[in-house]
């Protein structure tokens, strides 16, 4: 375990600046807001209201919150006129005090750190259903030097409805946390690309984008947990249980006198002594033919030269029932280098039985073989697992030869 470190290199973050303002109107493509120089967010509400009983604070409840901001700019797009109560009644002729239209807005703020400056990352802010309130315009005569007119608008918002979260009109997308591919996709939508004009995705679409490519929430760090092939001369035959094992299962016929074993792939992680490791694995044992009454398989952990069970070095196999799920929380006893931690599955034959080569066999599928820091015992997935509504799966790099990632919105 490590002690907290303050102000570590690259972790001295700050936020600064605003740029890339875009105005979105219904039915129109996004319009760059040149001259936008400040967006002062001033959410209202949310003030805690304390309640007292017998002189002691009993509850402290926050009021509903609303996104409110003030925009400041040197100029506004012509299209903003109708949001500012000005209606174009002819080319260049505008009438004031007209109904104000609501609009969408996006802008970017920058995130900096101690060695990349303001290039560390950025946040894209998206504001829905904004309504600008009338504001003052102080037109003054030009003096000895030109003083630009500081335009400003107070905006309030009405949150669009959304499922699963309290409605909000303000979304923030943090580039330091969002997968780059998703970030690029969102920016293509917001700022336009060769495939389409700039537009404001509605809330459902935005959520869907993150659902389909949301942040990584689980990572299977063991390479190919299911056995890709049986191992060595302990096996007889060329694979396949009786020629037709179930899809996804690896098996073979047993030799008469030996105890075969199969290793899963190797973990990509390295472990320090004392790190907690979680394993989960499920086996199926099947007698194929002949007088076999019992076959046992043994979960174990093998570093290059040692075998462990429940954190202890073992020499004897342990019998499991068919389809039993085994979860092991294990404390790494020593440093384990990346690529050396494996799950091993052993087959053995009950003492006293004898049969000829090829008379019996077993198949194996490690459906829950997971090695992750922290406790977890959920079905194994890989990058080829079929996506669901809320989760997607992909290989981190080379399919079948890299950790498999699960992304989920929730």
């Amino acid at each position: 375990m490590t002690r907290i470190a303050w102000g570590a290199h690259g972790e001295r973050l700050f936020e600064t600046g605003t740029d890339r303002g875009v105005l979105y109107l219904n039915g129109q493509s996004g319009i760059p807001w040149n001259g936008l120089r400040a967006v002062k967010e001033a959410p209202s509400g949310g003030e805690p209201r304390p309640y007292y009983i017998d002189g002691f604070k009993y509850m402290n409840i926050a009021a509903a919150e609303e996104f409110v901001a003030t925009l400041e700019a040197f100029s506004a797009p012509n299209e903003f006129a109708e949001c500012d109560g000005r209606k174009s009644i002819h080319n260049g002729l505008f009438a004031g005090e007209q109904p104000r239209k609501s609009f969408g807005l996006s802008y970017r703020t920058l995130i900096g750190n101690d060695y990349l400056g303001d290039r560390f990352g950025y946040k894209i802010h998206i504001v829905y259903n904004a309504l600008a309130a009338p504001s003052q315009r102080a037109n003054e005569t030009i003096g000895a030097s030109v003083t630009t007119l500081g335009l400003s608008w107070s905006i309030s918002t009405m949150p669009p409805r959304m499922d699963g979260l309290k409605p909000t009109a303000h979304f923030v997308i943090d580039s330091t946390l969002t997968p780059p591919k998703l970030m690029a996709e969102i920016e293509d939508i917001l700022y336009g690309s060769i495939d389409g004009e700039a537009r404001l995705p509605d809330v459902d679409e935005l959520l869907e984008l993150f659902k389909s490519a949301g942040p990584v929430v689980r990572e299977n760090t063991i390479l190919i947990p299911r056995p890709a092939a049986y191992s060595g001369s302990d096996w007889v035959g060329s694979g396949g249980l009786g020629g037709s094992p179930e899809a996804g299962w690896i098996g073979g016929t047993l030799a008469a006198t030996t105890a075969p074993y199969i290793f899963t792939g190797r973990s990509y992680l390295e472990y320090q002594p004392g790190d907690k490791i979680t394993l989960g694995i499920r086996y199926r044992v099947t007698a194929v033919s002949g007088p076999v009454e019992f076959i046992c398989v043994v979960p174990g952990i093998r570093t290059p030269l040692k075998y462990y069970r429940d954190g202890y070095q073992v020499t004897r196999p342990i019998t499991l029932d068919q389809d039993e799920v085994v979860s092991i929380e294990w404390i790494a006893p020593e440093y384990i280098a990346p690529g050396t931690l494996q799950i091993a599955v052993h087959g053995s034959i009950e003492s006293g039985l004898s049969f000829a080569d090829g008379d019996a066999g077993f198949a194996m599928r490690a459906t829950e073989a997971i090695i992750e820091p922290g406790w977890s015992n959920r079905p194994y997935f890989d990058g080829d697992t079929i996506d669901t509504d809320i989760e997607t799966y992909e290989w981190a790099n080379t399919p079948g030869s890299s950790p498999s990632l699960m992304r989920s919105w929730y």
């Binding site: 740029d19 890339r20 303002g21 875009v22 996004g30 319009i31 760059p32 807001w33 040149n34 001259g35 509903a64 609303e66 040197f74 100029s75 012509n78 109560g85 209606k87 009644i89 002819h90 080319n91 260049g92 002729l93 505008f94 009438a95 004031g96 005090e97 007209q98 109904p99 104000r100 309504l131 309130a133 009338p134 504001s135 003052q136 315009r137 102080a138 037109n139 003054e140 005569t141 030009i142 030109v146 003083t147 630009t148 007119l149 335009l151 309030s156 009405m158 949150p159 409805r161 309290k166 409605p167 293509d188 700022y191 336009g192 690309s193 060769i194 495939d195 389409g196 004009e197 700039a198």
Partner: protein, 255 residues
């Protein structure tokens, strides 16, 4: 499809300054407002009232908006006095006003301008501080008037008291015609045209002119780049003011 570009050449606009103030009395020609140093637009109303349902905002409704402003000037036109109640708490009269604000960009500080027209303005009483001259020279304390307005009918829009003409968008011929009316010309004294007349001026100087004959027929007059005749019986109009409402219906107007 193109990606949005920010701050492209010539698109870095800003607004600044105020000049060409003109006071339009009810009777008589418009008078130049010398010494006008600021017009602080201060629209009132349009406050946002929220209706909540299930703890979340359900509808945001705004109140009616009204144009108001504060004028500051070192002096005022002589004819303004009776509109300022200066003859002893007399009834104040509504007047018209125009002023110009400048638009600059990254190429030119004189990129364009906006002409603001204010109708039915009513000046509110303000305090006037008169003090002895100081030894270091004249005291240039400006006068100040708050003005409120009563909207006038606007063709094609809700009643308003504040019209803006953007010279960066309007055709130069239309601007010229409007300025001839606002500031006077050889053909007439300066006066404030009512919104309907103003719109007519824009219509007359539109490049594409649409005339509705009122009997179900209409005529379009415009240059070749706007109106094309593929054959003797077919016309095609390509112009920003010709827009499809749906696949079978279009709307066309002078522009």
């Amino acid at each position: 499809m193109t990606r949005i570009q920010w701050g492209s050449f010539g698109a870095r606009l800003y607004e600044t300054g105020v000049d060409r103030g003109v006071f339009y009395p009810n009777v008589g020609p418009g008078l130049p407002w010398n010494g006008l140093i600021s017009v602080k637009e201060d629209p009132s109303g349009a406050s946002l009232n929220k209706i909540f349902v299930d703890g979340v905002p359900y509808r945001t409704q705004k109140t009616k908006e009204s144009f108001a402003a504060v004028l500051q000037a070192y002096t005022s036109p002589r004819g303004f006095d009776e509109y300022d109640g200066n003859y002893g708490q007399q009834r104040r009269k509504p007047f018209g006003l125009s002023y110009r604000t400048r638009i600059g960009n990254d190429i030119s500080a004189d990129y364009a301008y906006k002409i603001h027209l204010v109708y039915n303005a009513l000046a509110m009483p303000t305090t006037v501080d008169s003090s002895t001259l100081k030894t270091d020279g004249l005291d240039g304390t400006p006068f100040s008037w708050g003005i409120s307005t009563t909207p006038v009918p606007i063709p094609g829009a809700k009643p308003a008291a504040h019209l803006i003409i953007d010279a960066s968008i309007a055709y130069p011929e239309a601007i010229q015609a409007v300025e001839d009316v606002l500031y006077g010309s050889i053909d007439g004294d300066a006066r404030l045209p009512d919104p309907e007349e103003l719109l007519d001026l824009f219509e007359q100087h539109a490049i594409l002119v649409i005339i509705d004959h009122g009997d179900g027929t209409w005529t379009a007059i415009g240059p070749d780049e706007a109106i094309d005749m593929p054959d003797a019986d077919t016309f095609q109009i390509t112009w920003p003011s010709a827009v499809y409402l749906d696949s079978d219906t279009y709307q066309i107007s002078s522009l």
